[in-house]
Amino acid sequence: MNDRALVFDGIGQDFPSPGQRNKVRVLDGISFDVDRGKFVAVIGPSGCGKSTLLQMAAGLLMPTRGAVRHRGRKIGSINTEVGFVPQQAQLFPWKTLAENIELPLLLRGVAADERRERVAGALNSVGLKGFEQHYPSQLSGGMQKRGSIARTLVYRPDIILMDEPFGALDAQTRMVMQSDLQTLSMEAGATVIFVTHDITEAVLLADHVVVLSQRPSRLLANIPIDLPRPRNMFEPFRNSGFEAAYDAVWTEFRSQLDTGRVH
């Protein structure tokens, strides 16, 4: 049985660079698989094209070379079977929290009764019960992020793509969110691709950490993380085996962090 949810097969991507005739090669022959129900973190120096991979998986961008396959089907247009959690929460400011979370269901033609039920369930699972009628501008950054995650979970996408979702949060909120994300993805058995530049975050959350190099980006390593779950997000060093796992990722990553270069 084939339990691969998503396959990146020899991805290459060139972007036109302003003022130059030659295109900039951003991604260079990247291949890795994402198995169903697994949490894969993609880590690399800034500007290396991590987010570009997510855009390809969502069908927003077609790779210059290679192909992305979702359950064996080559992605050629907008992929509505994935969910996307962007860097900023990107809730619709003109909709209340409940309306925001209801929108994907509305767009997919889910009946009103079921919509109400699933919105309530999603709000409950991210701890935002009681804030249904609030507009996003009335919520804190962390709450908006929870809303954004709920809006993705509510339609049960096959794969959840997360693009540095906790990057803009303060340190405490981020730890709480990481812990909650672990719980949610374990409960839902979700397949997640999580882009980050934080090694600790990657090691704590992921089953596999994919390490990318600087531009033009190649795949340096695909490191399995075998720490038992649930993991302690608040005290990373208390997880047995954390140091070894962190070290394995850091060894690959450090070579990319020479100072003085423009990232």
């Binding site: 927003l60 501008s137 804190s140």
Partner: protein, 280 residues
Amino acid sequence: MTDTAYGAPAGDTPARRGLAEIVARPLQWLLKLLPGIALLLFWQWASGRLIKEIYVSKPTAVAERLYELFASGEIYPHLWTTGQELVFGYVIGVAGGVIGGYALGRSPRLSRIFEPYVMAFYGIPKIALAPLFIIWFGIGMGSKIALAAIMVFFLVFYNVFAGVRSVDRELVNLTLIMGANQRQLTWHVFLPAAAPYVMLGMRLAIPYSVIGVIVGEFTSSAQGLGLFIHEASSTYDPAGVFAGIVILLAFVTIANILAGRLERRLLRWRALSGAGPADI
């Protein structure tokens, strides 16, 4: 999921702010009215003392004149004509501006072709078209409606165009991934995102529709407030001129209040963002 201390839902107003607010409201109104009253008093005093009354009239004379105009019914045909011209010109201009601005804002291809033309036409002083419009549409209401509509159109057009173009691409992509088709995208993303710009254009356009109609009536007409003001000024009747202007002011004020109401209703989500309600 862990319960975190994000604080209670917003919106609970402390009771002790209640009293201060009750006093503050009328006080603010008084402060707002004060300069206007001062101006009227100065006008009344200066007229006949500093400047000859034949040049500037005086507030009491204007009020008297207004009363006469309404009591005798002399003003009603003018009011009715100008009112119709304003409403039709405004509505046609807004509708055209919203449709045109939205179409060009959504389609980069259309906007590449048509934007230079619209830009060039925008630069034409529309007032200069008034005599031409009289020839094209006659001295009746048609020419005034056309003039008001074209002035309103460009203001609304540019605001809607800018509004639609400013919609965050990432938000659009997210909505597409959520499963939206083009119609749903329009309804759930582009129209609400452009709404503040539409409202801004509509409010800016109110005085311009008045200018368009009055200039049209000045140029040539059989009936209307513009004609009334024109006749009053050419017969050395400053009280009549000011009476006409007061009526126009009332038009603009009422339209502004209505637009403000509409804006508060449509843009509720914005008023709640902590910036305080937008006052007219």
